[in-house]
C-alpha cells in the first residue's frame, strides 16, 4: 500500500476530528481525498506537524490527528518526548512510514533500519500500535486518555495529485473558525 491509499483508509473514518497534514504529498493527497475545513495543510515548516498538533491538542477539547511522515518525525524527534511528557488526552499521531523522503524524490530515510514504533515505546507511549493491528474506527470513537502513536508502514510512492490551490490565509481562517466554533 502506498500513502494515498493509507490516507484514504484513515480519512474514511473521520468525523469532526481536527487533522494536521504534513507538508508536501501528505497534504496534497489528503486535499484530493477529503478536503474539509478541519484539515490544516502545512505548506512549509517540515518537521512541525506533530508540534502544531500538540499545541492544538493542549488548547481545546476536539480530537487531533496528525498525519506525519517518517522523514519529518526524524527531523523533530524531540517532539515525541514533549508529546509524551505533556500527555494530551485528545491526540493521535499517525506516522506514515514509507522510509523515504517522498515529496523530494523518495530518497531513503534511516527508518529503513530504525523502527519508529520502538522509539515511541521507549519514550514511554503506552498506546503505540501498528495500524494493521488496530481497529482505527474504534479508536476514534473511544475517549482518548493519553496520546496515541500509530505506526503505518507503507511503500514509497506519490499519487498523481495537484497542488493545494488554497491560500495560506484561507487554510488558516476556515480551520480557526471551525476549531473555535
Amino acid at each position: 500500500m502506498e500513502r494515498y491509499d493509507a490516507i484514504k483508509e484513515i480519512a474514511k473514518n473521520l468525523t469532526d476530528e481536527l487533522v494536521i497534514a504534513n507538508i508536501g504529498f501528505p497534504s496534497r493527497e489528503l486535499y484530493e481525498i477529503k478536503d474539509r475545513a478541519e484539515n490544516f495543510y502545512m505548506l512549509g515548516s517540515m518537521g512541525l506537524a506533530s508540534s502544531i498538533g500538540l499545541g492544538l491538542g493542549l488548547s481545546q477539547d476536539k480530537k487531533v490527528i496528525v498525519l506525519d511522515g517518517d522523514g519529518s518525525i526524524l527531523m523533530n524527534l524531540g517532539s515525541l518526548v514533549t508529546i509524551f511528557n505533556q500527555n494530551p488526552s485528545n491526540f493521535i499521531l499517525i506516522a506514515l512510514d514509507n522510509s523515504a523522503y517522498g515529496s523530494t524524490g523518495n530518497q531513503e530515510t534511516y527508518c529503513k533500519n530504525t523502527d519508529l514504533l520502538k522509539i515511541a515505546k521507549s519514550i514511554g507511549f503506552k498506546k503505540a500500535f501498528n495500524f494493521k493491528d488496530i481497529d482505527f474506527k474504534e479508536i476514534l470513537s473511544e475517549d482518548i486518555e493519553e496520546p496515541i502513536f500509530i505506526h503505518f508502514k507503507i511503500n514509497p510512492g506519490n499519487a498523481d495529485v495537484g497542488i493545494i490551490d488554497l491560500t495560506p490565509d484561507k487554510i488558516k481562517n476556515r480551520f480557526k473558525e471551525i476549531v473555535n466554533k
Binding site: G55, L58, S79
Partner: protein, 164 residues
C-alpha cells in the same frame, strides 16, 4: 524598586498571554518559575525553539495568545518556522528573548550569535525592540500582543544582558 522579572511578568499578564513555550536561559530562571506557577498560563517546556514555535502555532489556531521564552542563541533554530510557518500563515507571536553576547558578556561563545541576532531579525523583516532598562519592559510587553496581531507577524523583545 522595579524588578526585572516582575516587570516582564506584569507585561505578559497585561497583554493577556496565556500560552507560553520555553527553552531556558539563566536570565529567565525566575520568570519561568512565575509562569510555571500561574494557573492561567499553559507553559510547555520544549526540546528546541523550532518545536516550540510549532506548538505555539497550534495553540494560536485554538485561540490562545502565544509567546516563546528563549535565549537568542535559539534564534538560529527558529528561522524556518518564523518564515515558512509564521510569515506564510500570518501568525502573531511574542518572542521574549534573553539577548546574550552583547557588551559585558562573560562567555565568549555567546558573542557571535549575540552580534548576529538584530541582523537576523532585520533580514526576516520581524520587528524587534532592544530593552536595556527595567522601566521600559512592562509597557513594551503589555503592548506587544495587540501590535503583533495587527501586524500579523511575530514581534521580538530582546532583553539585553545589562537588563537583568
Amino acid at each position: 524598586m522595579l524588578d526585572s522579572t516582575e516587570s516582564i511578568y506584569k507585561g505578559i499578564k497585561n497583554a493577556g498571554i496565556n500560552f507560553i513555550v520555553s527553552v531556558p536561559c539563566v536570565n529567565l530562571k525566575k520568570l519561568l518559575e512565575k509562569i510555571n506557577n500561574d494557573s492561567e498560563i499553559t507553559h510547555v517546556p520544549v526540546t528546541r525553539e523550532e518545536e516550540g514555535l510549532g506548538i505555539c502555532a497550534g495553540a494560536y489556531l485554538a485561540g490562545k495568545k502565544i509567546a516563546i521564552l528563549m535565549q537568542n542563541s535559539g534564534l538560529g533554530n527558529s528561522i524556518n518556522a518564523l518564515t515558512s510557518l509564521y510569515e506564510l500563515y500570518s501568525f502573531p507571536l511574542i518572542m521574549i528573548i534573553s539577548h546574550r553576547g552583547t557588551k559585558g558578556e562573560p562567555i565568549i561563545g555567546q558573542v557571535p550569535m549575540g552580534k548576529a541576532t538584530p541582523n537576523l531579525f532585520e533580514g526576516l523583516g520581524i520587528d524587534y525592540k532592544r530593552i536595556e532598562k527595567i522601566e521600559k519592559a512592562e509597557k513594551a510587553v503589555s503592548e506587544s500582543w495587540k501590535k503583533s496581531e495587527s501586524l500579523k507577524k511575530p514581534i521580538a523583545l530582546l532583553f539585553d544582558i545589562n537588563y537583568w
